[in-house]
Symmetry: C3
Subunit: 195 residues, 3 copies
């Protein structure tokens, strides 16, 4: 992957890793637990995407992704106590992650020749699977099943990207639009308690 | 896939999607939750099967499977309140699904060159994985681990299919027999409370 | 796979299958439940490893692995009541399994061209995924998330193996050393309650 897709990918890995580490912090795990949760959450969605599409799994060929996950685990371990409201930080980091991954999962689906609607579903899966692993591992109710326009935001972001492309928009513009739509809807859900 | 395998596949996707949507109804989710649960349950088993066998994942190349899942989610969302006993409807739809998927998973295992016993295990995995995802997502005890001849029915259906083929039966007859054996055992478990 | 890798593989499958069956025993499942838990736990880690690395899944081509899982399920079903302290037996069998799988997962990662640090992570995933499935299926808190130097032991075993190879050790020596380091740390955790 190159260019903007690689950046969205790295952004998604980093913020999802941060959400995993923040959950480790809430559960008072040790440093190893931080590393595990950050890695599983950070690479989970992209791993599912690559396995479903029959692509080589992205973090095996390029060791930098794991380095990002482990580095963020250490940063959150050292610094999480200065964050007053860790659950709120987790929600906003997660919102950035799902908006980035929804667009990127849809893009990779389209590149594999999937139909537009299938690409949207791949975007939703890529965006939500890491957080799902995080929540199942910690035995919390998955965010995606709480009534907070979570899945709506993901589907709207991926759908906006695919629709903008179909209407002739350039890829970077379509990606920016899809990211903003997904992030705005999820952010509204967090800020105003939309259900 | 063509012919009877494609029909068993579509039948399995449809009834599993219905069970996912019925669980969404019991948990009073919104329409998005119905769509998520119907899709994850409907395509879960076949996705595991394709990943394990190294085949292209079936619903990525053919968008009709997702359309079926989402269509059924809408139907159940609109109509579930008229079903008096939703949990019983869920159990019977699930019984049809596991009987269909047990046979089809075993068949695709045999086509990939797996030994007879391995094909039976692939049938069991294909038949039970979608429901397992459904139950883990909703934090319910998986049906397969309750004491209700559940796994016995799945293994018997897949085993009957493989054994009938080995004894020289034609594929459609073996498939019909395997389906009926699996459905009858599971149905007896539901109806008479076999444990 | 041939030689010592095949033996580590079979050892890991066997002891993980035993831990799955011991959990089935604690949960008072029937014989089918024993078979399911033994199989899912026994082959889970290696299946994830093969899917991530894009290799053919090991137990599909070679039916002996499933035979080992089912045979051990029957043995534990018949004999578990003579084991006074089943949870302790489970912990020690699991310790053998994670030490064997950590080394083997790292080795297969290296063979696929992964960098040293990535190979260690593959070792950790291979070693812990079967037990994770076991614990999620039975709705217990995953062993890996309890504070008992569990993940530390796995990472140390895989890391020792990769480091010893890098320092020029022969593969069997590096494998034996990695196995012993992983087993000793985890065993110390069990015996002395290290946290």
């Amino acid at each position: 992957m190159a260019g903007w897709v690689a950046w969205l990918d790295l952004l998604g890995v980093a913020v999802f890793a941060a959400t995993g580490a923040l959950v480790a912090s809430r559960k008072q795990m040790d440093l190893i637990g931080f590393g595990l949760m950050a890695t599983a959450t950070g690479i989970g969605g992209g791993t599912l995407r690559d396995v479903l599409l029959g692509r080589p799994v992205f973090w095996i060929a390029d060791g930098r992704y794991l380095a990002v996950c482990l580095g963020i685990a250490v940063l959150v371990y050292v610094g999480a106590h200065v964050v007053q409201r860790r659950f709120v930080a987790l929600l906003w980091a997660d919102a950035i992650g799902i908006a980035a991954y929804a667009v990127m999962g849809a893009e990779l689906g389209l590149r594999s020749g999937a139909a537009a609607a299938v690409a949207v579903v791949l975007g939703v899966m890529t965006a939500t699977f890491g957080g799902l692993i995080r929540d199942v591992l910690c035995q919390e109710t998955p965010l995606i099943l709480r009534r907070e326009v979570y899945a709506t935001a993901v589907a709207a972001g991926a759908g906006t990207y695919v629709a903008a492309l179909a209407l002739g928009a350039g890829k970077p513009w379509a990606a920016a639009l899809g990211f903003l739509v997904g992030f705005a809807i999820r952010g509204g859900g967090i800020q105003f308690g939309w259900t």
